[in-house]
């Protein structure tokens, strides 16, 4: 019936839009090389660390990305991650399996709790998760009276997971990160569950009418978010060789920036989970460049990341408005 004519301008715009994350990373690499040359580009001394931290933030971000897909925010992930790291460290005398399971359980419990409050009691996600953030942080502090728990020489396997490099080159966290991304990419694209997530994010009412159990989707998404947060915390525990109650503070905004740069819009319904790979790397490169400087306060990272997130959101809002205008003109849309 109708064919959409696409001009060259739109083509380029589209190309930039869908690959903004890769372009952003390339840009940062360019800046880094110019500013710091070989110090920056040295893989074994510098870039590998960027990959380490990107992966840990990325793992936590996978869960939040899922929440974004249904149009919700999870503000509790940092605190849950810290709690999981404490639980894992606390249970470290009992072996690797118990400690990891313990940490994951903490994440699971908080995730389910979030999901139920949000789905069944209709509390708004950001407020509910602010509440659980407080609770999780408090619990993390309680575990050892506000003090960290060192792993000492217990569960050395976790230190390998947190610090090790596959073949000496690829950080273990990155391997885990990529593995999970692959899993979720498949789930989101090829399973009924994954498509239901997108449907709920697109329009809850329609999703309900099409037979999707919206409440279950919401609960499951927040549960996954809690699990991913916990997993990230566990890996962090391995990296630091300790559980820290104050870990992951402020990670929420960084993660959101990674997600938005990665191409998942704020409103939900669309987005590819793999965008967070480069989104995360980009965000961590900001930190990296600031650290390399040595003179700039670490707080510059916060300011720049915040501004970047804001700009990215503004771009999204603007793009949405443009689409609205086109729809109206053509009379094509509800």
């Amino acid at each position: 019936m109708e064919r959409k004519k696409v001009s060259i301008k739109k083509d380029i715009g589209h190309l930039i839009g869908t690959n903004s994350d890769i372009l952003a990373v390339l840009f940062m690499i360019l800046v880094g090389s110019i500013a710091y040359g070989r110090v920056f580009l040295n893989y074994n001394r510098n870039l590998i660390n960027v990959l380490h931290t990107s992966s840990m933030i990325g793992i936590m971000g996978i869960g939040v990305n899922l929440c974004f897909l249904i149009g919700a925010r999870d503000m509790s992930v940092g605190a849950v991650g810290a709690l999981a790291s404490m639980v894992t460290a606390y249970l470290s005398p009992y072996g690797i399996v118990v400690s990891i399971l313990g940490g994951l359980t903490a994440g699971l419990l908080f995730g389910v709790f979030n999901g139920v409050i949000i789905a069944k009691f209709k509390v708004q996600p950001f407020i509910a998760t602010l509440g659980t953030q407080l609770a999780a942080r408090g619990t993390a502090l309680l575990v050892n009276n506000g003090l960290s728990i060192s792993l000492g020489d217990k569960i050395p396997q976790l230190k390998v997971i947190g610090n090790g490099n596959l073949f000496g080159k690829i950080p273990m966290p990155a391997v885990i990160f990529i593995a999970i991304i692959i899993c979720f990419s498949i789930i989101l694209k090829f399973t009924g569950y994954g498509r239901a997530v997108y449907a709920v994010g697109g329009d809850e009412g329609s999703a309900e009418m099409m037979g999707i159990h919206v409440d279950w989707i919401k609960i499951s998404v927040f549960t996954i978010s809690g699990l991913m947060a916990a997993l990230s915390g566990i890996v962090l525990c391995g990296r630091l060789s300790a559980g820290q109650p104050t870990a992951c503070e402020g990670w929420e905004m960084t993660i959101m920036a990674a997600i938005v740069i990665g191409g998942t819009p704020v409103r939900g319904g669309v987005g590819k989970i793999k965008g967070i790979i480069f989104g995360s790397i980009f965000v961590n490169l900001i930190t990296n460049l600031i650290n390399l400087n040595g003179h700039l306060s670490a707080y510059w990272k916060d300011i720049i990341t915040g501004v970047v997130l804001l700009v990215a959101v503004l771009v999204q809002v603007y793009a949405d408005k443009q689409k609205e205008k086109i729809r109206h003109k053509g009379g094509s849309l509800i």
Partner: protein
């Protein structure tokens, strides 16, 4: 030969707290038939549809509900869909960001080794759309398609689930003529396959094109079911709108010629909107005049009102207040110029649910009854009491939360809000919706009073009798355009219906 019956409902009632939405109605559809389902607002159409689709349950203990030979009582939408009943709404209940193919098969996707088989899904989707006569890239997302195509996707989805009965609820409201033709071709194809369709609409021309019979409801009751080939348009409308056996029917407003000679306080010219809801509307309102705006649902009356009131700023054309051309940025601007607008949808556009009756009533007046921002609460109480007694608003107290009032009383509060403003022009959009007959009289008196005091009224209503009793002049709209105007002794319910029913799309001014 007796036609086979797909849907048979008899003695169905539905009661909600405080109101009986359906009173002992009946509804029967044959296999392979296209049944038109008509009735004005409050007739009970959507309530019955919701019972058929399992969203509501009929009142227990009464009535029979048979589908395809078996007695049924679907407990939710999923169950009715499993029976083979699918619905297509005006607001499409599809997922905007998923592809066409995916929308057709969501929940029903072809799988290969447990994972969704996109290739097969796309191939099947393309075939399904081609079967409906639509050539489109099924991998494109739904929201960029035209409404007609989106409707087709809805139908394709219904067919993919072995639908036996398709309900189209106002499905053509946003379609233009060519798109409607395409939709109707599809309905004919379905008919050939033995699939029945219930076609809920307000557009009469359309039902004569595509439907076999028509069932009419009014005020929650079954009126009749007749073959369209034996029912002329005029009779159809009068059955829908109803000839109340009330002597009010023949009452007329007193003809006051001076009213046309007073200054024009509001004028609009050539108003068009990109989404085709308005296609060139013109209107003039004189001081103290009561101008009625008639037309069936979807004719563009509310849209016109929103343009005048500054709520809709996406339009072409001119708007004048007094002699000045104006372009409002928001309703605040219109209010400043003396405009008031009582919306037809009080739930989403009228009430502040948790605020008190008093607050709701005086909300648009706050500026006037306050000094330096401090509200004069005595004045607030006085105004509230004044209108509570003027139009008999039933509320346990001034401080009751408005959400606890009945719908009719809520409507009265909202109406008072605008009347209390003493505007120059007040636009009333279905002001008596949900209000009982006794109270309607009070409101009509009120409207007469305010217009006598020099306030102009733009009166939008689907109740022709109201318009006849209350208006100095009536403008009739259809498909977003003026199609007629009646003044003084030309005004009668018959005359209005005539103009609405007229076949010609061109303007036909009766002067």
């Amino acid at each position: 030969m007796e036609p086979k019956i797909i849907l048979e409902m008899k003695h169905i009632s539905k009661t909600f707290p405080g109101v009986k939405a359906l009173k002992n109605v009946q509804f029967t559809v044959h296999k392979g038939e296209v049944m038109a389902f008509m009735g004005e607002n409050g007739a009970g159409k959507s309530t019955l549809i919701k019972i058929i689709t399992g969203y509501y349950h009929k009142d227990p203990g009464e009535g029979i509900f048979y589908f395809d030979g078996t007695e049924v009582n679907p407990r939710n939408t999923e169950e009715s869909q499993k029976l083979g009943i699918s619905t297509i709404f005006q607001e499409l209940n599809l997922s905007p960001f998923l592809s066409i193919a995916e929308n057709i098969y969501l929940g029903n996707s072809p799988k290969k080794r447990g994972l969704i088989d996109w290739k097969t899904m796309n191939v099947n989707a393309r075939k399904a759309m081609l079967d409906l006569g639509v050539d489109v890239d099924v991998t494109e997302s739904l929201n960029i398609q035209s409404t007609a195509i989106q409707q087709m996707v809805s139908i394709a989805r219904a067919l993919a689930r072995n639908t036996k009965l398709l309900i189209m609820d106002e499905a053509t409201s946003s379609l233009d003529n060519s798109e409607v033709s395409i939709l109707f071709d599809v309905v004919k194809k379905l008919k050939a396959k033995g699939i029945s369709t219930i076609f809920v609409t307000h557009k009469m021309d359309e039902i004569y094109r595509i439907c076999d019979r028509v069932t009419i409801f009014k005020d929650g009751e079954y009126v009749t079911c007749r073959p369209l080939s034996e029912l002329p348009k005029f009779e159809l409308i009068s059955l829908m709108i109803g000839r109340d056996a009330s002597e009010l029917m023949n009452k007329h407003k007193q003809y006051v010629p001076e009213k046309q000679k007073t200054e024009i306080i509001c004028k609009i010219e050539g108003i068009e909107k990109a989404n085709r809801r308005l296609n060139g509307v013109n209107l003039e309102i004189h001081k103290g005049e009561v101008v009625g705006l008639a037309g069936l649902l979807g004719s563009g009356r509310t849209e016109t009102a929103k343009v005048i009131f500054g709520d809709d700023i996406n339009y072409e054309g001119e708007l004048y207040m007094g002699n000045m051309a104006v372009k409002f940025k928001n309703p605040r601007g219109a209010i400043k110029k003396g405009c008031a607008f009582c919306s037809e949808d009080r739930k989403t556009e009228g009430i502040f649910p948790h605020m008190t009756v008093q607050d709701n009533l005086t909300m648009s007046n706050l500026g006037k009854i306050s000094k330096f921002g401090l509200i004069n609460s005595r004045e607030q109480k006085r105004i509230s009491k004044e209108y509570i007694s003027k139009i008999d608003i039933k509320t346990p107290s001034l401080m009751a939360k408005i959400k606890n009032l009945s719908g009719g009383n809520q409507q009265k509060v909202i109406l008072s809000r605008w009347l209390a403003m003493n505007p120059d022009l007040i636009i009333l959009d279905e002001p008596t919706r949900g209000i009982d007959v006794g109270a309607k009289g009070e409101i009509e008196n009120l409207i007469k009073q305010i217009s006598d005091s020099g306030i102009s009224v733009l009166y939008i209503s689907s109740e022709l009798d109201e318009l006849v009793r209350g208006c100095d002049r009536i403008v009739i709209l259809r498909d977003g355009k003026n199609v007629g105007e009646l003044i003084h002794n030309e005004i009668s319910a018959d005359a209005i219906m005539n103009i609405i029913a007229e076949e010609n799309q061109g303007s036909c001014y009766d002067k």
